[in-house]
Symmetry: C2
Subunit: 359 residues, 2 copies
Amino acid sequence: MIRDRRIYARSASDDKAPIIALVTALDALHASKIPLNANIKFVLEGEEEAESPHFSQILAANKELLRAEVWLICDGPVHQSRRQQILFGARGIARLDITVYGAKRELHSGHYGNWAPNPAMMLARLVASMQDNDGRVLVDHFYDGIEPLSETEKRAIAEAPEIDSEVKRELWLGRTEGAGKSLVELLNYPSLNIRGISSARSGDQASNVIPSTATAAIDMRLVKGISPDQARSRVVDHIRKQGYFIVDHDPDPDTLMSHTRIAKVASRDAGYPAERTSMDLPISREVLRIAESARGPIVRLPTMGGSVGLYMISQSVGSPTIMVPIANHDNNQHSFDENLRLENLWDGIELMAALLAGL
Amino acid sequence: MIRDRRIYARSASDDKAPIIALVTALDALHASKIPLNANIKFVLEGEEEAESPHFSQILAANKELLRAEVWLICDGPVHQSRRQQILFGARGIARLDITVYGAKRELHSGHYGNWAPNPAMMLARLVASMQDNDGRVLVDHFYDGIEPLSETEKRAIAEAPEIDSEVKRELWLGRTEGAGKSLVELLNYPSLNIRGISSARSGDQASNVIPSTATAAIDMRLVKGISPDQARSRVVDHIRKQGYFIVDHDPDPDTLMSHTRIAKVASRDAGYPAERTSMDLPISREVLRIAESARGPIVRLPTMGGSVGLYMISQSVGSPTIMVPIANHDNNQHSFDENLRLENLWDGIELMAALLAGL
């Protein structure tokens, strides 16, 4: 199974794979004297992993140069079934850090237990109030405004290969959330996730204290129709409804003593909205047709679960975006042993050549 | 206010203060040719801060030598009002670490959010289910079996100086728990406290993951009538009732995949029960009478909030125990700037001399 062998190297798949596939495809077309039908522009964004701090600026300053009938984005992985996939959007993101307060210092849990409020317990109750036992978010209006899926999009989701039971086994999961809905279906809803939580110390470092503060880091994945500001303000309203006075900086003693419950809510960044290109656009159909001619049946999905700043392109340049990834899903990106499966590279070169020549 | 000055030194108050007070009192009695009425034995336990791992053994091996009408324990602080206090017991303790499980590794919160269970959220819901908004523990039978207070004990609590509003201000608290009961009253109930909680990373180290595990460190303070094993098994039953399969070691993949919710519950140590000596014993009244003759009105309480292994003495030697502390409450014990207030040392010498000569 030589085609299943892998190249192990830093960023082998994310994001060297599509770059190598593209230039190799160009070389091959050139060597075979196959002409291009369209005017192709290449944009290599080297700051994507650092949240693309300058990309919007560059796009805005080069609107005319960078406008196109379609932007094909080659980031991300193919489907877990190893079939080629084409994604017509990505979820947006909004982050929040929540801190709640007990006494000004850690207290002896014997001398003050039962009397001094425990911020770890307060935070547990607060975040538990945000979601039910099956993952449904209980924040008021959390799902309001979601832009509905088209018939084509619904059909595409229904036709996606079933991978849930295999992924469940791969991840050692005894259950999944979402009331029986499949993973690909659930990615079309916004999510609220605890990225991390901490209060005092646990494990060997734990001591018999009532903690002084407790913090949770939250991320929300957004879908079309919900902006980062809307998502954050809905959560803030929810926290307020649980009896909390909201601050955006560490409260002073007077503020602490004059409120029964205080939560500091801070955003680490502005976040960004979701983006989704209609599968019914002529250019969308054209991309699918060419990809299918080169790679057989394609898994087509309205959105990927992760977040990519596609909105920058549609906002600044006004072009639709379609994601055409080539890397394997099990590539360990951003982690040890990052790898690119050789088959994915060969298939990627074929796909890129077909798109370059066919569009 | 020279008497309010303090000696700052490692263990200045905990536990050098009572040792110095005792030997100084003995010197003073000797110099003044005041005779002792009773046969006095001194026991200096040097491993108390390390949970006294050999004390029970030593007591058991020297039963006859160490038997006494009363053991006076000089550990701990005087009352927050700075009045002398005598405590007739201490709460026991039982500890538990709870770990719950998500996927076998941290997951990308975009690609799996809404579908893969989040152990931080599961743990938040689990610990939140253990206590109501006002600190009352909701674990079934948690308060069952508490040995009731005698009339003398109830009166002593009612007569204790009111310190709650001052301590609340000192700690910058906007509210306290316990349905309006006072701090000294609440110390006569068992408590359940989150010592620490953690899952993945928060703050600057947070990343967009669904954590793989989440852990909470719990301590319970016990009162007479509830053993450490009882307290622990009541919490374990509660966790089971929330739908968890309980294990005592990290579960293997098969175990994880065949249960919807798994909690590892581990005790770090056996813990120990509470101890309480009746205030109505002749020896209890005698100690109070002598202390009052030397130091004026005494704050007398059935128990301190913290835990001391008094049960070892009553169990092995069969003697009642009474705590006669001398250190100031604001001594920063176990922390930076530990200190002994000079007035407390002078008062402590007087008290020790009175007890040595008077009993």
